[in-house]
């Protein structure tokens, strides 16, 4: 439990990693939306990031305030080594489990009536 990551948490951490120094709410939300088509609420992102931060997986720093944000500050996130380790573990686990199964999986998935696009709660 202490080191396991949920799927949504993985998506967020990957987004933070990919955004390098520009990882704040809007960018993270858009990255997830662009890549997965999932429309995520801003509140949910901060809730998840709050959880990750309390587990030491990410750290945050306050940024500058901006007029287009009605003068409110940004909060940037960085992935910590512990977080990277957990994420890497989760990713490699999936990869090794999926080894050789991808074509079969794709064929089976094509027969699904509808892709499950349910947004996280």
């Amino acid at each position: 439990m202490a080191t396991a990551l949920g799927e949504f948490e993985q998506l967020i951490m990957l987004a933070v990693l990919g955004l390098k120094t520009d990882a704040y709410g809007v960018q993270i939300r858009r990255a997830i939306e662009d890549q997965t088509g999932r429309n995520v609420s801003a509140g949910a992102i901060y809730t998840a990031l709050g959880r990750l931060e309390s587990r030491g997986f990410v750290t945050s720093r306050l940024g500058e305030s901006a007029p287009e944000r009605s003068g409110q500050r940004r909060k940037y996130y960085d992935v910590e080594p512990e977080g990277a380790a957990a994420l890497y573990r989760a990713y490699t686990n999936i990869q090794s489990m999926a080894k050789g199964l991808v074509p079969q999986l794709a064929g089976l998935a094509a027969r699904a009536r509808q892709p499950d696009t349910k947004i996280d709660a």
């Binding site: 809007v26 609420s41 801003a42 509140g43 901060y46 287009e68 944000r69 009605s70």
Partner: protein, 890 residues
């Protein structure tokens, strides 16, 4: 590019309900993205929609904060946690709960909003008309005086000026008595770019001082100015001052021209002055001459509404008694005019709201009923919700939540519901009032949605009571729960059965209340139909009507005025598309002008008739309006010098006073007794009855040639062979060539005139029908909800029955019958209520009894059908369960 703001309310919600540690970043993110959407791709509407959906979802799942070991309300309050924190936590929790069950919450909020909205809108109207005080000083001491006369069938009628002046001098209980003309008249205000018709009202000079109203600029009249002074004076309303004179600060002392007569402006009333007696834009004194005052007319013509201010310390009863005794004296002194003439008084405000009182009280009652139905529904929905949440609550108390903590949580939730409902209700009420304004009949003043303290406290009271009732019920039930029972599945059925009984009872009541509203609406619909089918006696197709007021300054005598009208009508005949033209004092549906006694040349000296109605018309009027000539002849166009003014009588007159002979050729005089010196009028013809008012049966009427007594304002009627409004430009230019200073006002087809006469009834019918439909909808939702609950509670039983071989239809039958029993009870209850309360609506009905069996039966059938349909669906769905699954679940 204009600055783009995210939706304010959404932003406020975010700022208020997001946990503080993420508030700034979430709102910042949303604002930033919102602006990007606006500038980049989305329309403002889409961007707002996006922002709202983000807000709702962020509030729902962003409020949880870092993962907690337990849900917030599982914890007991520990020291150091303030009440505010707990409250905010509860509110957030409530929002999350709402988002989890959007359908149910939507239903609750819309139901509550409809109830509150309808009540608020109607209450605004009632408030405006009946509760908001007139802007008079010490209004409790103001009374309206009136005269009644048994012989003539008068109730609280206008008074004769001479009598009023005597009361003013003799009744010591009155500090002062003023008198006003209840009806306004149009006057052409000239000297501006275009002549306009302004609404003028005649008053006695002391009117403003009696009402206790002071002007904003200048002064008001003195009592002496009531009579013809050397230069007439005028007082302007604030509106007229702004509209016609651009708020000219130097207006006082200037002369304005009304109907080509110069009036000196002596005062302007303030913007808050509400006259309340009519919608006058300006006031002029009566300007009666010495001759007029000396004439018997002054005691005969019941044309003014007297308003008295009581002396301090004098009660209404004392004043009424003294007035009655003075009226008795006048009976002795002036037997010719005052025999049977009694006098009395009514508090001014009550008198002025009298006509509208019934309509508004009816509507208020109707929305009250609607609100009750809505409350019943919401209570039911919340109880269902409470039942389905028992397990959750039980888990919470098992984990250590105290009873008071749970009660507080549930109450907070109800409070949040009530507040949201109030917001939605205000919005619906606001929209509803716009709509009522568009529909309102002329006797209601323009209504504005005013958030005054009465309305606010009313809404807060309704909402507060709703919150307590809906909140307390489920909360108290929940807090009394036995945790162990709830956690083991066993006791479910028993408690459900109890709550089902309560729910069914509520729904029965709802149906009963809905019956009341549907009966009311049904009666109004049928009453209006009856009103529509009354024969008007005229042919209203292709008739154009409008009013002109030949200015008194230009056409100084009756003859000049009558000649001008005749000349205008003559020239109109040449306009293409015009078939026939006529002029009259009042159109059908607009009432009669005055009434009088009369006697006929071959009647005995002490024989006379009373209360014959009078109008004046030009010769062409009858053919224009399609009024048939039954015998004799219509008027000649020209009368020779000294020729007596001829009259025609209507059929009702001929039937009542000349049952066995023809009145044609007889002479009539409008007095009780007559001699050869009296003003005799030859009766030249008998015409068909016209409908002078919406409801009354045809009454005896005498119509005189317009030349005898041409009214100041003449209604022109034009029969056309083309669509009536099409001839208007030609009509206008014809009038313009004769006199460019006469405005044409109230341009309407005769069909519109007839339709406007029913406006008040249509208004009541439309509103009641809307309420009835909403009530039906709410009752249907109520029935559906309870039926679904009942079906759910019996899923197991139904499964077993199906397994044992029962058929679907049989089970549906059982379930629907059970629902029908309660619905039928409700319908009976409602019909009983309608029978008892029917007398209340009697006053607004025409040609139909409140206990009309057809209506009652139809309503019963409608409600039973609605109830059956709403309970059928859940019953049908219940039979679709898979018996195997149900049995396995046990």
């Amino acid at each position: 590019m204009p600055e783009q703001h995210p939706p304010r309310l959404a932003r406020w919600l975010l700022r208020s309900f997001l946990p503080s540690h993420i508030r700034e970043f979430v709102t910042g993110d949303l604002d930033e993205e919102f602006r990007r959407y606006v500038t980049l791709q989305l329309s403002r509407r889409q961007a707002r929609h996006w922002y709202w959906s983000q807000t709702v979802r962020s509030l729902a799942n962003g409020t949880a904060g870092p993962r907690r070991k337990t849900l917030p309300s599982f914890q007991k309050d520990h020291a150091g946690k303030t009440i505010m924190t707990t409250l905010m936590q509860d509110i957030r929790y409530a929002f999350r709960a709402f988002v989890r069950t959007p359908g149910q919450m939507g239903l609750i909020l819309i139901t509550l909003g409809l109830g509150i909205g309808a009540t608020t809108a109607i209450f605004s109207a009632v408030n405006e008309v009946m509760l908001r005080p007139l802007s008079f000083a010490d209004p409790d001491r103001l009374v309206m005086l009136w005269e009644s006369n048994d012989e003539r069938g008068w109730q609280q009628e206008h008074a004769a000026p001479a009598n009023v002046l005597d009361w003013r001098e003799r009744v010591t209980a009155f500090q002062d008595v003023a008198f006003v003309s209840e009806f306004t008249s149009g006057a052409a205000l000239t000297g501006l770019a275009d002549p306009v018709q302004v609404i003028a009202s005649q008053v006695s000079g002391n009117t403003f001082s009696v009402l206790g109203a002071s002007p904003m600029l200048g002064r008001t009249f003195t009592f002496e100015e009531t009579w013809a002074p050397s230069e007439p004076t005028v007082v302007l309303s604030h509106d007229a001052w702004q509209r016609y004179f651009g708020g000219d600060a130097d207006i006082i002392g200037k002369t304005i021209h009304l109907d080509a007569v110069g009036f000196q402006v002596i005062g302007v009333m303030g913007p808050s002055f509400r006259y309340g007696i009519n919608d006058a834009e300006l006031w002029v004194p009566f300007l009666w001459t010495e001759q007029r005052r000396a004439h018997v007319w002054f005691r005969q013509a019941h044309v003014v509404r007297p308003i008295a201010r009581l002396r301090t310390g004098v009660s209404h009863e004392q004043a009424a008694a003294e007035l009655a005794s003075i009226a008795g004296q006048l009976q002795q002194e002036y037997p010719n005019t005052n025999e049977f003439m009694e006098a009395g008084l009514t508090p001014l405000h009550r008198f002025l709201t009298g006509d509208r009182r019934l309509t508004l009280l009816l509507l208020l009652g109707a929305v009250g009923v609607l609100q009750l139905i809505a409350c019943g529904n919401v209570a039911n929905l919340l109880m269902t919700r409470a039942v389905s949440r028992r397990q959750e609550i039980a888990v919470r108390s098992a984990l250590g939540a105290g009873r008071s903590r749970i009660t507080r949580q549930v109450l907070t939730e109800s409070f949040v519901i009530a507040v949201l409902g109030a917001f939605i209700g205000m919005a619906i009420g606001f929209t509803g009032l716009q709509w009522i304004n568009a529909l309102r009949p002329p006797e209601l003043p323009s209504l504005s949605f005013r958030l005054d303290w009465r309305l606010l406290s009313f809404t807060v009271a309704v909402t507060g009571i709703s919150a307590i009732v809906f909140g307390a019920l489920p909360a108290l039930r929940s807090a009394r729960l036995n945790v162990a029972d709830q956690l083991t599945d066993g006791s479910r059925i028993g408690s459900r059965r109890n709550s089902l009984l309560a729910a069914n009872g509520l729904v029965s009541l709802e149906i009963g209340l809905a019956v009341l509203l549907v009966v009311g609406a049904g009666l109004m619909v049928r009453s209006l139909r009856a009103l529509r089918t009354v024969d008007s006696g005229v042919d209203i197709t292709n008739v154009l009507t409008f009013e002109i007021t030949p200015p008194a300054g230009t056409y100084r005598t009756d003859t000049e005025r009558a000649e001008f009208v005749a000349q205008f009508l003559e020239q109109l005949q040449t306009v293409p598309g015009v078939v026939q033209t006529g002029g009259v004092r009042r159109l059908p549906y607009q009432g009669f002008a005055w009434t009088s006694d009369f006697t006929i040349d071959n009647w005995a000296t002490d024989q006379f008739g009373v209360e014959v109605r009078h109008r004046e018309a030009t010769p062409g009027y009858f053919t224009t309006m399609g009024v048939p000539l039954l015998s004799g002849a219509l008027f000649k166009k020209q009368l020779s010098e000294d020729e007596a003014v001829p009259v025609v009588v209507n059929r009702a007159f001929a039937d009542r006073y000349f049952p066995n002979e023809s009145p044609v050729g007889r002479r009539i005089v409008f007095d009780r007794s007559a001699d050869e010196q009296s003003n005799w009028h030859p009766i030249v013809g008998v015409v068909g009855n016209e409908r002078l008012s919406v409801t009354a049966d045809p009454m005896p009427e005498v119509i005189a040639h317009l030349i005898g007594d041409p009214p100041r304002t003449v209604r022109i009627a034009i029969k056309t062979s083309v669509p009536p409004l099409g001839v208007m430009p030609e009509v206008r230019s014809t009038l313009h060539t004769l006199n460019a200073d006469i405005p044409i006002v109230s341009i309407r087809t005769m069909e519109e005139v007839a339709s406007e006469a029913l406006a008040s009834d249509r208004f009541l019918m439309t509103l009641l029908s809307v309420f009835a439909v909403v009530a039906l909808g709410l009752a249907a939702i109520g029935v559906y909800g309870v039926a679904a609950q009942a079906a759910r509670a019996r899923t197991r039983e139904i499964g077993i029955r199906l397994a044992l071989g029962a058929t679907g239809p049989a089970i549906i039958g059982t379930l629907v019958t059970r629902g029908m029993l309660f619905a039928g009870g409700g319908v009976l209850l409602g019909l009983a209520g309608a029978a008892l309360g029917g007398r209340v609506v009697q006053g607004v009905l025409f040609g139909i009894e409140p206990s009309d069996p057809t209506t009652l039966l139809a309503v019963a059938v409608i409600l039973i059908t609605v109830a059956a349909a709403s309970s059928y669906i859940p019953a049908w769905r219940a039979t679709k369960v898979d018996p195997v699954k149900v049995l396995k679940a046990n």
